[in-house]
């Protein structure tokens, strides 16, 4: 993370938080306010996302995840509260929304429904063109982005996006956002409806992209396994409020709280919890399979008698 001076326009951001690219202060969003159909989607959310962070946002269906992330690039304005993105306060009249949209790239849920051009290459070029780049740069970015999502530009570039499979369309849509090279990438369930291999591939590419480009990533996801594997910090939304905001390890050692909300716990954590409940004193803050194997082996070696009893039961 690069240190950055507090913006003079917003002295209220404490210097300690000057690194926040996205800051939400007591943000609420009410759809159709003042009508009988009024529905509160987000309520009193305060959140700071620092430069270079990889944050996972999880929560049950309808908990307000999509609503919240649409505030991050000014597509939605808060009903109350403030959203500050890259030093730009979005509730202010005349806020530079264009600048904010360049900084924050948002990939919508089911983004394949937004493809419209005659060819894949032209569709991916839509974003960069809107940035006002010249043709040469645009082309370069299109090639780069398509490679990044695992599509051969030579082969897929000239094809019609509507002739692709669902998974390929998804990749094209992701490339369309990547090609804008945003400093913050917000992905709203980028892998929903993909097969496990495709899911893993896309997430791995997102992760390597972050390592190379040092960008900030916000990942909205349903799969706890993915979030546990990739993110450093987890924000859990429940009925429009932040139910939990903690580093990944800490978050999943609060497994009971997560279950209460109706969320899954990663399979590894789940296994460790069950072992613990069954009498094996393992630590539950392990997240990867390798870590869990080590932990179980260690515990069983340490408490050889306890381990034997366990095996006897089986």
């Amino acid at each position: 993370m690069s240190p950055r001076a507090a913006s003079p326009d917003h002295p209220e951001i404490a210097p300690a938080n000057a690194d926040a690219v996205i800051a939400c202060e007591d943000v609420s969003h009410v759809y159709q306010a003042g009508t009988p159909l009024e529905s509160v989607a987000v309520q009193g959310v305060s959140l700071r996302i620092g430069r270079g962070e990889f944050v996972g946002i999880v929560g049950p269906t309808g908990s307000g995840k999509s609503t919240l992330v649409q505030h991050f690039n000014g597509l939605l304005r808060p009903t109350s509260g403030r959203v500050i993105v890259a030093g730009e306060s979005l509730d202010r009249r005349g806020a530079d929304v264009r600048k904010v949209r360049r900084t924050v790239g948002l990939l919508f849920q089911y983004p394949e429904h937004q493809l419209f051009e005659e060819t894949v290459a032209r569709d991916v070029a839509f974003g960069p063109r809107n940035l006002g780049l010249d043709e040469e740069d645009v082309e370069e970015r299109v090639t780069w982005a398509l490679r990044l999502v695992g599509l051969d530009p030579e082969r897929f570039g000239p094809r019609s996006p509507f002739s692709l499979s669902g998974g390929e369309m998804r990749r094209v849509a992701i490339a369309g956002v990547l090609a804008m090279k945003p400093a913050v990438l917000v992905l709203d369930e980028p892998t929903a409806g993909l097969d496990p291999v495709g899911r893993r591939e896309i997430l791995d590419r997102v992760q390597s992209l972050r390592a190379e480009q040092k960008i900030t990533i916000v990942l909205v996801a349903h799969s706890m396994d993915d979030v546990a594997r990739l993110c450093e910090r987890i924000v859990v939304l429940h009925q429009g409020r932040v139910a939990l905001d903690a580093p990944t390890r800490a978050a999943f050692s609060a497994a009971d709280r997560l279950r209460e909300i109706g969320l899954d716990v990663p399979r590894v954590s789940d296994l460790l919890w069950r072992l613990r409940a069954g009498g094996l004193p393992v630590r539950t803050d392990r997240l990867t399979v390798a870590e869990a194997v080590d932990e179980i082996a260690r515990t069983m070696r340490a408490g050889a008698s306890g381990g034997r009893r366990e095996r006897g039961d089986a």
Partner: protein, 269 residues
Amino acid sequence: MFRGLVAGQYVPRRSFVHGLDPRTKILASLALITVIFLVGDFPGYGVLAALVIASIAASWLPILAVLRGLRPILFLVVLTFLLQVFLGGHDDGTVLWGGGPFVVTREGVREGAFVAVRLLILVTSTSLLTLTTSPMDLTEGLERLLRPFRRVGVPAHELAMMMTIALRFVPTLIDETEKIMKAQMARGAELQSGNLFQRARAMIPILVPLFVSAFRRADELALAMEARCYRGGEGRTRMRQLRFGAGDLFAAFTVTAVGALAVWWGRVS
């Protein structure tokens, strides 16, 4: 963004008017429309206005909802009035005001007000139909009314089904439009700036995905209907049967009587 803007949208209530048979309401509306065009003078409209106001009261509608439904056509009413006053060709009447090429006469103002009132009553009475009748009931009533004309080739059931589906998908398409607009804005699309040509071009990234998804939806819906053995209206029975009641008789009588009174009172003397 667009939601809640649909004028004349059904407002569920338990009232006398809501409880009427949809066929009664459709026929009454048709009768009223005819009467509105038969009436030739203000007293007739006074009678009709009284009927419309009484109906609003009898349907327990929030008066605000009804007025809000009128807002979109207010511009049209004002425009019609002004056109009548200035360009209606009443130059030979009693001059009230004259400035340059425009002359305002008493007859012109009278004619303008007449047309404006006619338009207002027309819209209010027809929107009263959609405000108090659910789309389901509306299409059901329409189908039943068209049924006798099947013998001369009117596809009553198909027309009603098409209307039901169209009404059902209006909110879905509005949602979809909103979502696609946001997605393209996130990709830096400029929708609100530029000249007319640029703006028309900016609609392409919205319209193409919208049509694609509408066709996909239509396909899926057709498939889903066939999978559930839908094969047209032949031999289909209804879960809810339409029945005329005493209220319908009363409403039919009232509308006929008041309509006749309006025509008689509003005849051109």
